[in-house]
Assembly symmetry: C2
């Protein structure tokens, strides 16, 4: 089956700090026209950071889109310095957010967060053998974090109760639960 849609025109609706929004007119395989709304994003990394006693590090932070605090794994957006090296972003975010540097870093998987309307792609890493950083990088403006560590069983219970309700964090915990 021919699935490809051909872009006939693109209109930029908003060019912001974190996102760009555009609307495309596309031609469908059957010749009809349709409109597509797209949110462009630079991409991101998320990190399952495990301590020596096999606990995961979580961050509680305020999230404006839902006007509430969430519990999430460390994560952050890519910037121009990371173009050729996603692990650079991982090391920076772990420094900024949890003040550790990873002795071991492994790519778990990668995914489009919400591909129906956005091109945001997140690479998920496993960070172990954590050591305190010697030089602390400044946090982003307005980045207020509360850190906590939880066991596998606690993490599972926090998904079940709804206390953890962030997609990348649930994916990271499921991955962790799959490891023997």
């Amino acid at each position: 089956m021919d699935l490809e849609e051909h872009v006939e025109s693109t209109e930029e609706l908003y060019n912001g700090v974190i996102i760009k929004v555009e609307r495309q007119q596309v031609r469908l395989p059957n010749g009809d026209s349709a409109s597509r709304e797209i949110v462009r994003h630079a991409g991101a990394v998320g990190i399952l950071a495990l301590t020596a006693d096999n606990k995961m590090i979580l961050e509680r932070q305020w999230r404006a889109p839902i006007a509430a605090a969430t519990l999430e794994i460390p994560a952050g957006k890519l910037d121009q310095r990371d173009a050729d090296n996603v692990e650079h972003a991982v090391i920076r975010e772990l420094n900024e957010e949890i003040r550790y540097q990873p002795g071991q870093l492994k790519r778990i998987t990668g995914f489009y967060s919400s591909v129906g309307f956005s091109d945001e792609y997140m690479t998920l890493f496993l960070a172990t053998d954590l050591k305190p950083v010697t030089t602390e990088l400044p946090r982003d403006q307005g980045e207020n974090l509360e850190l906590l560590t939880v066991t596998k069983e606690e993490a599972q219970a926090m998904i079940d109760s709804g206390e953890i309700n962030d997609a990348k964090t649930i994916t990271a915990i499921y991955y962790w639960l799959l490891q023997k």
Copy 2:
């Protein structure tokens, strides 16, 4: 730690079909001001639909944000008819997309897809005991789908190869792999 940000003003930037985009000025706990970009979305459902021989149903479809086809579990947006009943959306999407109705439906979990900039919340369901529908609902305009079924082992291999790179689909497969 006080994490709450107080909204001082909200500016609507775009009011579209699938998304609304706004920018908030917020006051941080320390008194500073910051700007937040927010993409509002009605919410969605995703469905791990398993056949009698324990294969999952996947859809190949074109995704404009990445100008490529993806492999995803059945999913769809909530609309006004679903306000009080998310399962209504599940049954509709399974009919529209794969032409089955579920004998058993179970909520797996729920999550914000990309809470850094969006309020999209997806509820993930497990659908089993599938029966062909008697009345086929019309598909959305421009919804061209190719259906396939894969085993657990095939699904795992498709994540490892990158052929499956959709967040909700990877989460659903990890959940499936966790079941005995």
